[in-house]
C-alpha cells in the first residue's frame, strides 16, 4: 500500500515536470516567432487575405467608375477624355503635378476623388497607368504613361485593369492630348482603346 502511494506521487510530479518543460519550450518558440518581423508584406496567410481584399477594393473602384447609363459616358471614360497627359503625385492633400508640386496645378476628377477617399487616406499606395495603342509606318505599338505615380510598387502589389474604347466624338480637343493618344483607325469611328490599370500596394 505504501509502495503504491509512493509510485502515484512520483507519476504526478513527472507529469507536472513534463508539462512545465513543454510550456518552457513553447515559450521559447513563441518568443522566436514574435522576434521574427511579420509585416503586411510578409508572405503569409494574412498577407494573401489582404491581397485578396485589396484586389476586391480595386475591382469595386473600377466597377463603380466604369458604369454608364445608355447615352452617357462613364466617369472613368470622362476622366480619360479630360486628362491632359501629365503625371501627378499624391502630396498628402491632393494630386499635384509631378515635377511642379509648388505650382498649384493639380489633378481633380472623379477618379482622384475616389482614390483620395478610399486609398490615399488608408495609406494604400497606388499608381494609375494608361496603356494605349499607337500606329506609325504600318506598325502597331503599345505605349504606357502614368496618370498618377507614387513610386515603384512592391512585389506584393495588386494590379486591376479595365479597357475603355474611345470614339471620334469623345475627343475633347481642348484638353485631350491628341498628340499623345492618337486615332488608330481614321477610317472608322474607333479612336483608340485604353487600358486603365490601377496598381495598389501596402506601405
Amino acid at each position: 500500500m505504501v509502495i503504491f502511494k509512493k509510485f502515484d506521487d512520483k507519476a504526478q510530479l513527472h507529469t507536472l515536470e513534463g508539462v512545465a518543460a513543454a510550456a518552457l519550450m513553447l515559450t521559447v518558440m513563441i518568443y522566436i516567432i514574435d522576434a521574427t518581423s511579420m509585416t503586411p508584406l510578409t508572405s503569409s496567410s494574412s498577407n494573401m487575405h489582404m491581397e485578396s481584399e485589396l484586389g476586391m477594393l480595386g475591382q469595386d473602384i473600377l466597377n463603380n467608375m466604369n458604369y454608364a447609363e445608355p447615352g452617357y459616358d462613364s466617369k472613368l471614360k470622362s476622366d480619360i477624355m479630360n486628362w491632359n497627359g501629365n503625371e501627378y503625385v499624391w502630396n498628402g492633400t491632393n494630386y499635384a503635378e509631378k515635377g511642379a508640386e509648388d505650382s498649384g496645378r493639380e489633378l481633380k476628377n472623379n477618379l482622384t476623388d475616389i482614390l483620395a477617399k478610399v486609398l490615399a487616406r488608408k495609406a494604400i499606395a497606388h499608381n494609375v497607368e494608361m496603356t494605349y495603342i499607337s500606329t506609325s509606318n504600318n506598325a502597331t505599338y503599345l505605349f504606357s504613361k502614368n496618370m498618377i505615380s507614387n513610386g515603384d510598387p512592391s512585389n506584393n502589389a495588386i494590379k486591376i485593369s479595365r479597357k475603355i474604347a474611345l470614339h471620334d466624338e469623345d475627343i475633347n480637343s481642348t484638353l485631350f492630348p491628341s498628340n499623345l493618344i492618337g486615332d488608330i483607325d481614321p477610317s472608322t469611328n474607333l479612336y483608340n482603346i485604353i487600358d486603365v490599370k490601377i496598381v495598389m500596394w501596402r506601405i
Binding site: K10, H14, E17, G18, V19, A21, A22, L24, M25, L26, M29, S44, S45, M48, H49, E51, S52, G55, M56, Q59, N63, N66, E69, P70, G71, T131, I133, T140, L142, I160, S161, R162, K163, I164, A165, H167, I184, D185, S187, T188, N189, L190, I193, D195
Partner: protein
C-alpha cells in the same frame, strides 16, 4: 557487511531509476512540444489553402471577361449607330470594317496580359427586325416595362410583321392609358398625346410583344431630369472567346442595336 552492500545497491538502483525518469520526462516534453507545433503548422496550412481558394473565387479573369462583353456590346452599338447614321450603300460594310478593326485591336491589347481575346459578330444582312419582347426574341417575355419614372417622352413604333394585337401601356399611380396596334406601319405617340391622357410620372410598358416585330424608340427624360433613349432595331449575336492560363471561355451574347 551484507546490509551495507544491500543499501549501496538500493541507492544505486534508485539513482538509475531517477536518471531514466528524467530522460523520459524530457522526451515527453519534446513530444508534446513537437505535437503542438505540428498541429499549429497544419492549422496554418489549412487557413492558407482556404484563403487561396477564396482568391480563386475572386479570380480577375471573370471581371476581364465581363469587361470584354461590355466593350463588345458598346462597340457593336456604336458601330451600328455610326454606320446607319452615315447611311449610303456601304452601311453594312462600314459596320463590319469598324468591328473588324475593334476585334484586331482588342486581341492586341489583351495579349499584353497573356490573354487571348477574339470577337466575332453578325451583321443585319438578311436578318429580320427584333420582336417587341424584353430581349427581342420571339419567345422573350411579351409584357415588360420599357421605361419608368418618366416625365416627358416620345414613343415611335414601326411594325414590320404582326400576328395579333400589340399594346403600349402608359401607367401612372392611378391610371392606365393604352394604345393598340393591329397593322404594320410606323406610329408616333407624342409627349402631348400622352399628357392629354395621363399625368407624369409614368411608366411605359409593352404588352403582347411576341405578336409583332419591327423597330421602336423611346426618348425623353425622367422625373430626376436625366435624358434617356431606349431603341431597338435588331438583335445581333456576338461571340467572344477568352482564354488565359487559368480559364477558357466562349460566350455568345445577343446585343440589341442601336441602344
Amino acid at each position: 557487511m551484507k546490509m551495507v552492500v544491500s543499501m549501496i545497491n538500493k541507492m544505486t538502483t534508485s539513482k538509475m531509476i531517477r536518471n531514466q525518469d528524467a530522460q523520459f520526462m524530457l522526451l515527453g516534453a519534446f513530444i508534446i512540444a513537437i505535437g503542438l507545433t505540428v498541429v499549429t503548422i497544419m492549422l496554418s496550412s489549412i487557413i492558407f489553402e482556404g484563403n487561396k481558394a477564396i482568391m480563386a473565387g475572386s479570380d480577375e479573369s471573370k471581371t476581364d471577361m465581363v469587361n470584354v462583353m461590355q466593350m463588345a456590346q458598346d462597340e457593336i452599338r456604336n458601330a451600328y449607330r455610326n454606320s446607319t447614321t452615315l447611311g449610303g450603300d456601304d452601311t453594312i460594310n462600314n459596320f463590319n470594317i469598324h468591328m473588324r478593326e475593334f476585334g484586331n485591336y482588342m486581341s492586341l491589347i489583351y495579349a499584353v496580359h497573356g490573354e487571348v481575346v477574339t470577337v466575332t459578330w453578325e451583321d443585319w444582312n438578311d436578318k429580320e427586325y427584333a420582336y417587341f419582347t424584353d430581349n427581342g426574341a420571339v419567345n422573350g417575355m411579351p409584357d415588360w416595362i420599357v421605361a419608368e419614372n418618366t416625365q416627358n417622352s416620345t414613343i415611335m413604333v414601326n411594325i414590320t410583321n404582326i400576328s395579333g394585337p400589340l399594346n403600349v401601356n402608359v401607367i401612372n399611380a392611378t391610371k392606365i392609358w393604352q394604345k393598340d396596334f393591329s397593322f404594320p406601319g410606323m406610329s408616333i405617340i407624342s409627349d402631348d398625346d400622352i399628357k392629354a391622357n395621363i399625368n407624369p410620372p409614368y411608366s411605359i410598358k409593352f404588352i403582347n410583344g411576341s405578336n409583332a416585330n419591327g423597330k421602336y424608340s423611346v426618348t425623353g427624360n425622367t422625373v430626376y431630369g436625366r435624358n434617356f433613349i431606349y431603341a431597338r432595331d435588331y438583335v445581333l449575336n456576338t461571340t467572344i472567346t477568352f482564354s488565359n492560363s487559368k480559364v477558357s471561355a466562349n460566350v455568345t451574347v445577343p446585343i440589341s442595336v442601336p441602344w
